[in-house]
């Protein structure tokens, strides 16, 4: 069980460590980042969606006509597109699109100086420790609060190297040609119902361009946070790594606890031009009423490399399958993901990789844990096109089930149309054994500590890939999830 009363949970994406214990206890309650500020919206649209709402959002942002038109087309596509017939259909049917607010702006402008951000918003982010984290080690931060990015900065040296790191709205204003060239080029709005919805109503997200040959040495980071209830969050992220460049982008998400459901439906598009390397890491810990329906996809050109490192801990239903299209010869894809499903949660996660060119390689490592009746699914698709010679594919998916009522399913698909491909697939489902727990207990560790050790060990191949600070905090987070799990 998550969140025994009396336990103080200070760890949220590794950032909530400054809160005084009492304040934390009052503010947080069951979900560790579950406090919320009074809604402070400057502009808030009525609930529900129509072509007019879509046009209003676009007008309010002074967008170019082409963007308005894409939004409207995407809206009509969304309206006509049926729900997916896989994943968790009964949970999907519960989404009431008419009771969601599609645009909420709580600050008038994106601030460059942290002190200029309105105080209550600053408080929220202070609780999450964002400026502190930035000072310590991050190259840049975009903090998205509701729909608009309210605070944004980037280190000067990166600016001098020509790296662009903006929130998506500013990106569209300042670099309309770049955005027009790549927007919807990786994830067309027709891709699925939720990519259509995102394209219609998107707000915020990150826009990043790394020039040729530039290596961004430290991870750049963005935070997303849903504060208002019945709030949809539809950020749109576009990262372009030009030839021979590299970047590591880290994304963290939190939402306070509300009794009604929130919808998070993002689209992330990555373009790795020849020889470029993009790594995109996410540790998502939405509260248990959030639908997290996200489309993430990258295109890798010749000898480029795209890696998704994807951790899903919270949410009610997550459906997310980070994808890579290996378009250029010699390109490489990796998707490393973990999912933790607790009470009432379904994590339907996995990966998709399409080998379109020769000598391309890919690796999928998926780890899922289910506990307290939670349900974890791995849904994966790897394909090799007929023209793609000598491709190598490796898929490993492991599930760990912590108790009898929990569930794990695997839906792997491989479509290999070229016989020269070398494919490896391993899958395992295990339960924590009493003997393992007893062994660790005999070394002085309580049953909960023993379980946390086993779970963290299971996640180790994932945490190894995260920046140190995230890895440490993910381990702590999992240890907290194990609290009160014995009975």
């Amino acid at each position: 069980m998550v969140g025994r009363s009396g336990k103080i949970r200070l760890i949220e994406k590794g950032m909530v460590r400054n809160m005084a214990a009492k304040e934390a206890r009052e503010a947080v309650g069951e979900y560790k980042a579950g406090w919320h500020d009074p809604e402070n919206a400057t502009i808030r649209f009525d609930f529900g969606l129509s072509e007019q709402v879509v046009r209003d959002i676009s007008a309010l942002k002074n967008e170019p006509d082409w963007m308005t038109e894409i939004r409207v087309k995407a809206f009509h596509h969304f309206e006509n597109r049926p729900m997916p017939t896989w994943g968790n259909m009964s949970m999907l049917e519960e989404i009431d699109f008419d009771s969601i607010c599609y645009y909420l702006r709580s600050s008038d402008a994106t601030e460059k100086d942290w002190e200029d951000v309105p105080e209550n918003i600053r408080d929220t982010f202070d609780k999450l420790g964002i400026p502190e984290a930035e000072q310590k080690w991050l190259s840049g931060v975009t903090a998205q609060y509701e729909s608009e990015a309210v605070y944004h900065s980037i280190r000067e040296d990166l600016e001098q190297q020509g790296v662009i790191f903006l929130d998506m709205d500013s990106g569209l204003k300042e670099y309309p040609e770049l955005v027009k060239k790549w927007f919807c080029s990786v994830v067309p709005f027709q891709d699925n119902k939720f990519s259509a919805l995102n394209t219609a109503v998107w707000s915020g997200g990150s826009f990043i361009y790394v020039p040729k040959g530039v290596h961004v040495e430290m991870p750049v980071q963005a935070y997303f946070r849903i504060n208002a209830k019945n709030m949809g969050q539809f950020e749109r992220t576009l990262i372009i790594a030009d030839e021979g460049s590299s970047i590591h982008y880290v994304e963290g998400c939190t939402a306070p606890t509300y009794s009604t459901d929130s919808l998070h439906s993002a689209v992330v598009e990555l373009i790795a031009l020849p020889g470029a390397h993009i790594r995109y890491s996410t540790v998502q810990n939405w509260s248990a009423n959030v639908y997290n329906l996200v489309t993430k996809r990258g295109i890798a050109h010749e000898n480029a490399k795209i890696e998704w490192v994807d951790g899903n801990i919270g949410s009610k239903l997550t459906m997310k399958y980070p994808a890579v299209i290996l378009k250029g010869e010699g390109s490489h894809a990796e998707v490393i993901s973990v999912a933790y499903s607790g009470k009432g949660q379904h994590q339907d996660a996995g990966a998709k990789i399409h080998h379109l060119a020769s000598n391309t390689t890919s690796k999928i490592l998926s780890k899922s844990i289910s506990k307290d009746g939670g349900r974890g699914s791995y849904r994966g698709m790897v394909s090799v096109s007929p023209k793609a010679e000598n491709c190598k594919l490796n898929v490993v998916c492991d599930a760990l089930i912590l108790d009898d009522g929990s569930r794990s399913d695997t839906y792997p698909t491989m479509e290999v149309a070229n016989p020269s491909a070398r494919c490896e697939h391993e899958a395992s489902v295990s339960k924590v054994s009493d003997e393992q727990v007893f062994y660790l207990m005999s070394r002085g560790h309580s049953e909960e500590e023993a379980l946390a050790m086993i779970v963290n060990g299971f996640f180790e191949p994932f945490t190894r890939e995260l920046p140190m600070e995230y890895a440490v905090e993910l381990n702590k987070l999992m240890a907290l999830e194990m609290e009160g799990s014995i009975g």
């Binding site: 005999s442 002085g444 309580s446 086993i454 060990g457 996640f459 180790e460």
Partner: protein, 255 residues
């Protein structure tokens, strides 16, 4: 510490699993600084005795008592027993993939001996010396606990834990199985170092006398069908080696 209280005292211990009795009235006392051996065939209740002292949840104690330094163990959870000073070297140590040996050792020392014991130069030196003594390579610390270990590596790792955790009572369950003669010598060195000249005690569980050539026991007890039927000095181990267990089983039957 000159104390009359034995490290381990077992009185009239009856225990079983799923209503099947396995131990039927064990009596055993290990004074401080002594090493005792329990010998017996497979199925005589040796491993069950070890598991019950450590607190394995599958077994049910139906009668009798177990005390460590005069303290009742049976009311404690396994980790409380470990913190009180019981250590079990497992016959089949469990693998925990992803849990690094170095990290695990530090955490275990911190849990049992206290945070201060698990950091600093002193801990590192103790760790390094113990590993040298057991002929364990430095790279071992980066591996995962018992994951892909050979039989010999597993046993050495158990003894490494014994040396670092410095328990009051060390129970060694079939520590000699799966070890070659060099391994047995190395492991025996570790056991002697952990017990001889200290206030600790050790209980060696085995069905061969091999290990007892290198760790001289003060007392040898023979376990048959859940009861200690004969106790004696180290010479009893040799006698068992020569004569087997039949003569004792016959005597037990006719008794």
């Amino acid at each position: 510490m000159a104390s009359d209280i034995p490290v381990l005292e077992i009185r009239n211990l009856h225990a079983g699993i799923d209503d099947t009795p396995i131990l039927r009235g064990i009596e055993l006392e290990i004074p401080a600084g002594e090493i005792h051996a329990i010998m017996g065939r497979n199925g005589s209740g040796k491993t069950t005795t070890a598991n019950i002292i450590m607190g394995h949840p599958d077994f049910e104690v139906t009668d009798g008592g177990v005390q460590l330094d005069g303290e009742n163990l049976l009311d404690m959870e396994p980790w409380e027993r470990a913190r009180a000073g019981v250590f079990l070297s497992f016959q089949y140590p469990q693998a925990v993939p992803g849990l690094q040996v170095g990290n695990f050792l530090r955490k275990s020392v911190a849990a049992i001996r206290g945070e201060d014991e698990a950091k600093g130069a002193e801990f590192r030196k103790k760790l390094k010396d113990s590993m040298t003594e057991l002929d364990i390579d430095r790279s071992f610390l980066g591996r995962y606990v018992n994951d892909g270990f050979s039989g010999g590596e597993k046993k050495r790792f158990e003894i490494l834990q014994l040396m670092l955790l410095q328990p009051k009572l060390a129970i060694l369950d079939e520590t000699d199985s799966g070890l070659d003669i060099d391994g047995i010598r190395t492991v025996a060195k570790g056991i002697n170092a952990a017990v001889r000249g200290t206030d600790s005690g050790a209980l060696i569980i085995t069905h061969y006398s091999r290990i007892l050539e290198h760790v001289q026991p003060d007392r040898v007890h023979v376990l048959i069908k859940g009861r200690i039927v004969k106790s004696g000095g180290p010479e009893l181990a040799l006698e068992l080696e020569e004569r087997g267990y039949e003569w004792l089983e016959e005597a037990e039957k006719s008794a």
